[in-house]
């Protein structure tokens, strides 16, 4: 194991290289660019024995990735924002085709107005495309997620594409000390990708066919089950990961000081780091506050959320997203989990960080203060300030 000072993008690229994909197909876009730059350097220098396919667009990047995956290749792509939206047609193709492609998405705002900075509107607007969606909180987690993503996506009971999300700039371009595992340890962690879902001369099949009203529901049901199976496989994967790498993650969610908390902020991505910091500070002043970080938005951790929040007084869902005309999408999902469990908790929504706007420590304190009113409101944080 070596220890290096890396950006989130560099760390993720190192993880991908250690997973040794057969094919990488990607088109550059800020703030994802340095991931594919790094990987193309590895390929050019001979450090990484992968086929790097240069394409003319994101639509083609994912199409080429599907072609590679359909012959049984371990496949990686990466994108961000408008690039992800341009891929949208192919996202449902890859998920419906059950191609376990891994994609890194650098979370970035969507136009118009044009903006290259981070929020999570790009990926959250595509929750229904059938991709597993994970949100990393640190550069180390980014590298580890790169390794685990292939394990989870390619598992025979899952066979579902995996979108690993890194907050644009806050994570993609921020440097941290990162432990880089040995190739031999990674090789013993990650089995070779084996599937029957491929073109094979010895076993010819019909691929990517149409399914009319008579069979379509059954295909979609199986796609849903594959995604639900990921919940179990994520736990299994993290157990194996912890044994080999001596680092442990907490599955679909991370709970921080929620056990006796009255007020909890629910969020995702790197902003959880700031919330954790404020939880520590407010705890020192005797306030019973906590943090629930959602690591996987698909499959959605309904059971875990209910288990952790069942005795709190109020929650605030803090998210860098707005579904215009309604509320933040994460808020909708969290409320659905609470409602199904008949948990009657005051639940508010705080829309923040749009287009990369900084979220201040004092704003987190204000949210915790606001939660004491135990109401259910939707607010834009720092509006007009």
């Amino acid at each position: 194991m070596t220890r290096e000072f890396l950006s989130g993008n560099d760390a993720f690229a190192r993880g991908v290289a250690l997973a040794r994909p057969h094919v990488i197909s990607a088109y550059p876009i800020t703030p994802q660019t340095t991931v594919v730059e790094k990987l193309s350097e590895f390929v050019a220098s001979g450090k990484l024995n992968s086929e790097f396919i240069h394409v003319e667009s994101e639509h083609s990047a994912l199409s080429a990735a599907m072609g590679a995956s359909s012959v049984g290749a371990r496949t990686f792509t990466a994108t961000s924002s408008q690039g992800l939206l341009y891929m949208a047609e192919c996202l449902t193709y890859a998920a419906g085709g059950r191609f376990p492609i891994v994609m890194m998405n650098a979370n970035r705002s969507t136009a118009l107005p044009w903006n290259i900075y981070g929020d999570q509107r790009d990926s959250l607007s595509l929750l229904d495309t059938g991709w597993i969606q994970a949100y990393a909180g640190s550069a180390q987690e980014a590298l580890d997620l790169a390794l685990m993503s292939f394990y989870i996506a390619e598992h025979k009971d899952v066979s579902t594409p995996f979108m690993a999300n890194l907050d644009g700039f806050t994570l993609t371009h921020t440097y941290e000390v990162v432990d880089i595992p040995e190739q031999s340890t990674v090789d013993s962690f990650l089995p070779a990708y084996q599937t029957e879902n491929k073109m094979d001369l010895d076993n010819p099949v019909n691929m990517g066919f149409s399914a009319g009203p008579d069979t379509n529901t059954e295909f979609k049901f199986k796609e849903h089950i594959g995604m639900l199976n990921a919940k179990r496989v994520i736990d299994e994967c993290e157990d194996k990961f912890a044994k080999l790498f001596n680092r442990r993650y907490s599955g679909l969610v991370e709970s921080y000081l929620c056990d006796d908390a009255d007020y909890v902020i629910v969020t995702l991505g790197t902003i959880a780091g700031l919330v954790k910091d404020r939880v520590d500070a407010l705890r020192e002043k005797g306030q019973k506050v906590g943090l629930l970080r959602i690591r996987y938005v698909r499959p959605f951790p309904n059971e875990q959320i209910v288990q952790i929040l069942k005795s709190v007084k109020a929650i605030g869902v803090l998210e860098k997203d707005i579904s215009f005309g309604n509320e933040g999408t994460v808020y909708t999902n969290v409320n659905s989990a609470l409602q199904k469990a008949r948990l009657n908790i005051a639940s508010s929504n705080y829309i923040a960080g749009l287009g990369g706007r900084n979220i201040e420590p004092k704003q987190i304190d204000e949210i915790f203060e606001d939660l004491k009113n135990e109401q259910s409101v939707v607010k834009f944080v720092g509006l007009g300030e």
């Binding site: 990517g208 008579d214 069979t215 594959g226």
Partner: protein, 95 residues
């Protein structure tokens, strides 16, 4: 004009593969989409194969000096009839 529906075939959940990847047979024939079918007059066909090149579904195949049509998948669009300079293809109504 009468719409021709193909026979309904049902599958159990276990028979459906986890991905749209399967040995031939699961996919239903698409002939039910067709109201008219192209018919080749082999005596007029000069084997130029234009229809074979133009068929958007690849249902026309070379057969001796003429061509044949895979009626399981021909959707009856009539492009072959339109493109045939010999007038060797006519469209017949499905019953």
């Amino acid at each position: 004009m009468k719409v021709v529906l193909r026979d309904k075939k049902t599958f159990t959940l276990d028979e459906i593969p986890f991905a749209p990847c399967y040995k031939p047979g699961l996919v239903a024939v698409n002939s039910g989409w067709r109201n008219e079918k192209p018919v080749v007059d082999e005596s007029k066909c000069n084997g130029c194969n234009l229809c074979y090149l133009y068929c958007p579904d690849g249902t026309i195949f070379k057969k001796g000096k003429s061509v044949g049509i895979d009626y399981d998948f021909c959707k009856g669009c009539g492009i072959c009839k339109k493109i045939c300079k010999q007038g060797a293809i006519t469209m017949e109504s499905e019953k």
